[in-house]
Symmetry: C2
Subunit: 663 residues, 2 copies
C-alpha cells in the first residue's frame, strides 16, 4: 500500500464525481450515479494499489482494471484523463458520447488506451475478468513472479450480480481459487426500477462464500476501510469480493441514494448544489494542479514498476520464450504444419466426424503453437477438444493447457475473451452448437472487441440424431453468421477442418466458430495444396462441359451434394458441386470471382439448417434449397435426413425440376 495524503485522496475522488456529472450533463445523457457512488473506492484502488503505466498501456504485467458496471464509463474516462493517458485529453471528456470520440457511452476496448475489455452488457465484465485472472496465474506458472505478478480488479454492480453469467464466473473462479481476482461490489441497493428490494433478496456475501470466495463488507465512502479490505483481499489466497456499501450519486445532495441519479443528467441546479456540497469551486472540465498531481503520482508509480519489470525481463533467461508467447502465432510455422497434416489426410482419406477431424487438427496445432489453451463446457469427449498429453489447469497446478469450464457455456465464452485479452495464451473451447445460444452475448462481445478466440461447436445439425430438437441446431448457424466480425466455418471434411483451424488461429482481430459434425464424413478433397477454405466457397467438382446445375453445400451436406451429382450424371445431367465452408470469407471476395464459382446454371443450396443467409449470396429467385424449415426431431440421424428430405435423391429431383423449369 502506498502512503496516502488523506485530503488529496478525498479530492481525487471528488474530481471523478465532478468530471462524471459534468460530462453527463454536457452529453445530455449518461450515468452519473455509479461513478459518483464508487469514486471513493476507485480513488483508493488507484491511489494505493493499482500498478499501470499510461505510457505503455500494453505492458504485460500491468494490473487489469475492469469496470463491469460499464454504464459507469465516466469513472474510467475521468481516471484515465487524470492519469495522463495521451489519448484522453479533456476534450475527449467534453465529447463524451459523441460521434467519433473515444469516450463512448460504455467503455469500448480498442477505442481508448487502458480499456481492458468492453463492458455494458451486465455480467460480462466480471466474467471476462475471471479469464484474465486465470490467464495471469497460467502465465505465472510458466514464467514466474519476476515476469507475471499482477492483479485483476473489478467494479461491479447489482446488475452484474443478478445476471446468470455471474454465477458461472463466481463458481468457476472460486473453484480455481483465483486469488489474484478482487471484485469490488458497488452495494448501493438501487437498480433502475427502484430499490433492490423490488427484485432480490440474495445475501451476496453468503453467496460468494458458498462458492469459496473470501468476502468482506465495508463502508464504500470510508477510504481507509476500503484500503484495509483491499489489502486483506490481496493477502487471502481465494478470490475476494468486497461489498462496498455506497450511496449512488454520492455528492448530489438532493438526488443521491435514489434511482433518479442512475442514468440521467443531474441538471444544472443539482450540479450547482453538488459543487457546493462537495466544496468544488472549479469550472466544468477544470482540475487543480494538486489533484492532477496526485493522479499523476499513480502513473509515476506504475512507470517505475514497469521499468523494474522491463529490467527483469531483459535479464531473464525466459525473455525470448515470453516474447514469443505474447506475439501473434507463428503463421508460417502453422501453415507448414497444417499443410503436412492435410497432405497426410489427402493420402489417408479418413472417414471421421469433423469433430474428430478437429481433434486431429488440434494435435498438430497444439504441438506447433505453445500457447493454445483448450477446454470444454463439460463435453470434452463429445467436442474432442483435448489432445494427447494436455493436462488440466487446476487450483494447485496452472501449468496445464486444458480447462474444465464446467457446464457453463456463457462463462466459458466470456472467460475465453478474458484469456485472449490478457495476452500470452490462445483460448479455444467447446460445447454443442445448439448451446451457442447460451454463450451468444459473450461471442458477440468478442466479435465487437475483435478478440481472437475459437469456439468449437460440435453436433451441428439434425445429424446428431436422437437427442432431438432441443439439441439440434437449425437456426444457430444463420444467427452466428449474422454477427459482424465473426468467422463461421462449417467444414465438409478433415481437410477443410484443418484449413479452418489455420485460418481461425491466424485471424488477428476476429473470433471464429467451428461448426462440426457428430456423424462420420468421408474425406472429399484429393488435393493438398492451397487452403481452399480461405476462399469461403470453391468448386469441389467441376463438370465436363457447361453446367446444367450447381449444387452448393456446407459441412455434412457436401457429401450429399456429391452423391446427388453422381445420380444426376447417371441421368445425363451435368452438376457441379461447390463447397462453402465460410460465408464470410466468400462475401469478402470480388463479385466476379463469386460469380465464376457459382456459375449461371440453376443453383441448389444444401444445408441441413434453415435457408436464411443463402439468398442474395448464393441463391437467386428461382434457385432451390434443400434444408430445414422448422425444428428437428428425435430419431437416428439417417432417419431424420430422410424424414426432412435432405438426401441426394431429393436434391437430384429438385435439380431436374429446376432444369426443366428453366427450359
Amino acid at each position: 500500500m502506498a502512503s496516502v495524503h488523506p485530503d488529496l485522496e478525498a479530492q481525487m475522488a471528488t474530481a471523478i464525481r465532478v468530471l462524471a456529472m459534468d460530462a453527463v450533463e454536457a452529453a445530455k445523457s449518461g450515468h452519473p450515479g455509479a461513478p459518483m457512488g464508487m469514486a471513493d473506492v476507485a480513488a483508493v484502488l488507484f491511489n494505493r494499489f493499482i500498478r499501470i503505466d499510461p505510457a505503455d498501456d500494453k505492458w504485460p504485467d500491468r494490473d487489469r482494471f475492469v469496470m463491469s458496471a460499464g454504464h459507469g464509463s465516466m469513472l474510467v474516462y475521468a481516471i484515465h484523463h487524470m492519469l495522463g493517458y495521451d489519448d484522453m485529453p479533456m476534450d475527449q471528456l467534453r465529447a463524451f458520447r459523441q460521434l467519433g470520440s473515444r469516450t463512448a457511452g460504455h467503455p469500448e476496448y480498442g477505442h481508448a488506451k487502458g480499456i481492458e475489455t468492453t463492458t455494458g452488457p451486465l455480467g460480462q465484465g466480471i466474467s471476462t475478468a475471471v479469464g484474465m485472472a486465470l490467464a495471469e496465474r497460467m502465465m505465472n506458472a510458466r514464467f514466474g513472479d519476476d515476469l507475471v505478478d499482477h492483479w485483476t480488479y473489478v467494479i461491479c454492480g447489482d446488475g452484474c450480480l443478478m445476471e446468470g453469467i455471474s454465477h458461472e464466473a463466481i463458481d468457476f473462479a472460486g473453484h480455481q481459487r483465483l486469488g489474484r481476482l478482487i471484485v469490488l461490489w458497488d452495494d448501493n441497493r438501487i437498480t433502475i426500477d427502484g430499490g433492490t428490494e423490488l427484485s432480490t433478496s440474495t445475501d451476496q456475501q453468503a453467496r460468494f462464500a458458498a462458492s469459496g470466495w473470501h468476502v468482506q463488507a465495508v463502508d464504500g465512502h470510508d477510504r481507509d476501510s476500503v484500503a484495509r479490505a483491499i489489502q486483506a483481499a490481496r493477502e487471502d489466497e481465494r478470490p475476494s469480493m468486497i461489498a462496498c456499501r455506497t450511496v449512488i450519486g454520492f455528492g448530489a445532495p438532493n438526488k443521491q441514494g435514489s434511482h433518479d441519479v442512475h442514468g440521467a443528467p443531474l441538471g444544472a441546479a443539482e450540479i450547482a448544489a453538488a459543487r457546493e456540497h462537495l466544496g468544488w469551486s472549479h469550472e466544468p472540465f477544470v482540475l487543480p494542479d494538486d489533484i492532477l498531481g496526485s493522479w499523476r503520482n499513480v502513473a509515476a508509480r506504475g512507470a517505475a514498476a514497469r521499468a523494474a519489470w522491463q529490467e527483469r525481463l531483459t535479464n531473464s533467461p525466459l525473455t525470448a520464450e515470453f516474447s514469443a508467447m505474447l506475439a501473434a502465432p507463428d503463421a508460417a510455422r502453422l501453415r507448414e504444419a497444417i499443410a503436412t497434416h492435410v497432405a497426410a489426410l489427402a493420402a489417408d482419406r479418413p472417414k471421421v466426424a469433423t469433430r474428430k477431424s478437429s481433434e486431429m487438427a488440434l494435435e498438430v496445432v497444439n504441438a506447433t503453437l505453445p500457447n493454445t489453451v483448450g477446454g470444454s463446457a463439460d463435453l470434452t469427449g463429445s467436442n474432442n477438444t483435448r489432445t494427447k498429453g494436455m493436462t488440466a489447469v487446476t487450483d494447485v497446478d496452472r501449468s496445464g493447457r486444458y480447462i474444465h469450464y464446467g457446464i457453463r457455456e456463457h462463462g466459458m465464452a466470456a472467460a475465453m475473451n478474458g484469456i485472449a485479452l490478457h495476452g500470452g495464451l490462445i483460448p479455444y473451447g467447446g460445447t454443442f452448437l445448439a448451446f451457442s445460444d447460451y454463450s451468444r452475448p459473450a461471442i458477440r462481445l468478442g466479435a465487437l472487441m475483435g478478440v481472437p478466440v475459437v469456439h468449437v461447436m460440435t453436433h451441428d445439425s439434425i445429424g446428431l440424431g436422437e437427442d432431438g430438437p432441443t439439441h439440434q441446431p437449425v437456426e444457430q448457424v444463420a444467427a452466428l453468421r449474422a454477427i459482424p466480425n465473426l468467422l463461421v466455418f462449417r467444414p465438409a471434411d478433415a481437410i477443410e477442418t484443418a484449413e479452418a483451424w489455420e485460418i481461425a488461429l491466424t485471424a488477428p482481430h476476429t473470433p471464429s466458430v467451428l461448426c462440426l459434425s457428430r456423424q462420420n464424413l468421408p474425406t472429399l478433397r484429393a488435393d493438398a495444396g492451397e487452403n481452399l477454405t480461405r476462399q469461403g466457397a470453391y468448386t469441389l467438382r467441376e463438370t465436363d462441359g457447361p453446367r446444367d446445375v450447381t449444387l452448393i453445400a456446407t459441412g455434412s451436406e457436401v457429401e450429399i451434394a456429391l452423391a446427388a451429382a453422381d445420380l444426376l450424371a447417371a441421368q445425363g445431367v451435368r452438376a457441379a458441386v461447390v463447397s462453402a465452408p465460410s460465408f464470410e470469407l466468400f462475401v469478402a471476395r470480388p463479385a466476379p470471382e463469386r460469380e465464376a464459382v457459382l456459375g449461371q446454371a440453376p443453383r441448389i443450396g444444401i444445408e441441413a439448417l434453415i435457408r436464411q443467409g443463402w439468398d442474395g449470396l448464393f441463391l437467386r429467385p428461382g434457385d432451390g434449397f434443400i434444408g430445414m424449415t422448422g425444428f428437428g426431431a428425435s430419431a437416428p440421424a439417417p432417419d431424420l435426413y430422410r424424414h426432412f428430405g435432405i438426401t441426394a435423391e431429393a436434391t437430384a429431383e429438385l435439380a431436374n425440376q429446376l432444369i426443366r423449369g428453366g427450359k
Copy 2:
C-alpha cells in the same frame, strides 16, 4: 403423505430403473444414469405426494412435475407408462428416441401428455418451473385454495445448477418466497467429463440458503428420509431445495457411480448384471401386476382429487371467471378494443416512440384482458411495460399484475414460459432488444413448445443513440427471425404497434417479439380499418402511375422511406412505400400476393440493421439495401443515422442509381 408399502415402493423404483436401462439399450442411445439414480426419489415423490390424473392431463389444479435434467427423460416416460397415460403404452417405450414416437430423447411438451415443459437445455426446467410456481400463487390469490392449491416439483442435476440461468431462477424464487416450489437436486457428484470436483466447488446448500431457500440434504436412496424431507419442504414457507445424495446409474453394479453410465447404453452384460443385482427377473418391457398396481394407485389418488376439485369448481361462485381466465383470450373483444384504439390513433396521430405506443396499446389490452401479466428485467420505465394501476406481485401479495423480474433477462423469459404453460395468465415482459441474446435459449424453447408469450424488446436499433454498440441491436432481429415459430414484429408507428399486440395476444401457439423504438416516430397510417400488420407487409403509399421504385422498410425506417419517396417525387420519380412489420406473416402469404405488394420495379430495403433475411423474401439480385453492415457506435441517434448513411437522401440517391442502372 399417503400410506406406503415399503417393498412395493422399492419395486416401483426398480421398475423405473429397469425400463430406463432397457429402453436406452433398445434405442442404442440415451441416458440411463439419471433415471436409475433418481428412481427412489421419484418413486417416493409420486407414490406419496404427487397429485395428477392421467385421465385429465390438463386438470388445472394438478401438481406440476418438471424433469429439469431432461436427458433423464426415460424416468418420465417410465412413470407415465406405469401411471396409465393412454398415450404412453409400452410400445412407446420400446420406440424410445425413434422417429414419430412420443418418447423423444428429451421430454418434449406437446408430444405426450403430462410433459409440463420441454427440457434438455440445462437450467431451463428449473427456471420454467419458477414461473409455474409463481403462476400458481398468483392464481391462488385470485381464486383461493379451493380452486388453486398445487405444487411444483423439479428434479434437477449438477448441470442445471451450474448454468447461469439457475442463479436468476433461484434468486427470483427466493425473493418471491415461492413456497410451493420444491427442487430435488440429483446430487450424484458426476458430470459428463468426470467428477464434479473437476469444475465446481460451490456448496449448493449454502448457495440456495443465501437466496432465501429452505435447504435439506438426504440420502437419495433412503426413501423414508426423502419422504420426510419433502414433507418438511411442504411445511416451510420458503421454496425448498433438497440435496438428494445419489449414485448415478444406481443398480448397474459395475458401472454405477461413474460418468460412464451418464449417457450411453449399459450394454447387455451390465444389464444382465443389473437385473440380478436388482432382483428383477422379468423380460424387458414386462411389468408385474403388483408393481403396476401400485403405480395405478397413484393415478387413482389423483383421479379422486380431481373429482373433488371438479365438485368444488362446480359449486364455486368463481366458476365462470376461473374458466374465462383459463380459456384463450377473447379475440373478438380484443379486436374491437384495439380497433377503437386504432381509430383514435388515426385521428390523433401521436408522434411517440413505439415503446410508448406499446404502452398505449397495453392500456387497452390490460383493461380488456383480465389475465395479462406484465413485467420487465429492471427496465420498466424504458420498456414502458407497466400500465396505469398495475401493482407489483410480491411475496406477500400475489394479486398484482406486474412482475419485477430483476436484471435477469434469461430467467424472465423462462419464467414467462412457465407462467404461460401453467395456464390462466398471459405473460409479457420487457428488456432491451440487444439483450434478447441473453434470453435467447428460453425464447427458442418457447417457440419450440409453441407457448404464447410476448417479449417486449425496446431500443431496437442504433436509434437508441449514445449507449453505443453494446446496446445497439444490429443482428438481433435477423437472429430472432431465424427462430422457427416465432413472430417478430417491428412496427412503424402507434397503429402498427397496436395491431402487433392484437396478433401476438391471439396467436395460440406462437410466441412473439415486439421490436420497439426508443426514438419518437410519427403516426403514418391514416386508415383505421383492417389490421394491415396481419399481412406482414403492405403498400403504405402507392404511386400514381407505374412504380419507378419500391421502398420497403420496417419500424423507424418507414418514416425515412416516406421522406425518400417525397424527395423522389420532387425529382419526378414514382416511389411506392411498403411497410413490412412482420416477415413471418408475409412469408405465409401466397407468392402472387407477395409479388403484388412488392411490384416489379427496382426495390430498396431500408432497415437500420443488417441485410440478412431481406434477400429472397423482399430483394432480388440488383435490388438495394440501406442499413447496417457492422456494429453501431455511441452518439446521438440523428448523428448515427447520418454517419451510417441511413437517410432519406441516401435512399433517394440509391433509388436513382438503381433506376438508371435498370434503364
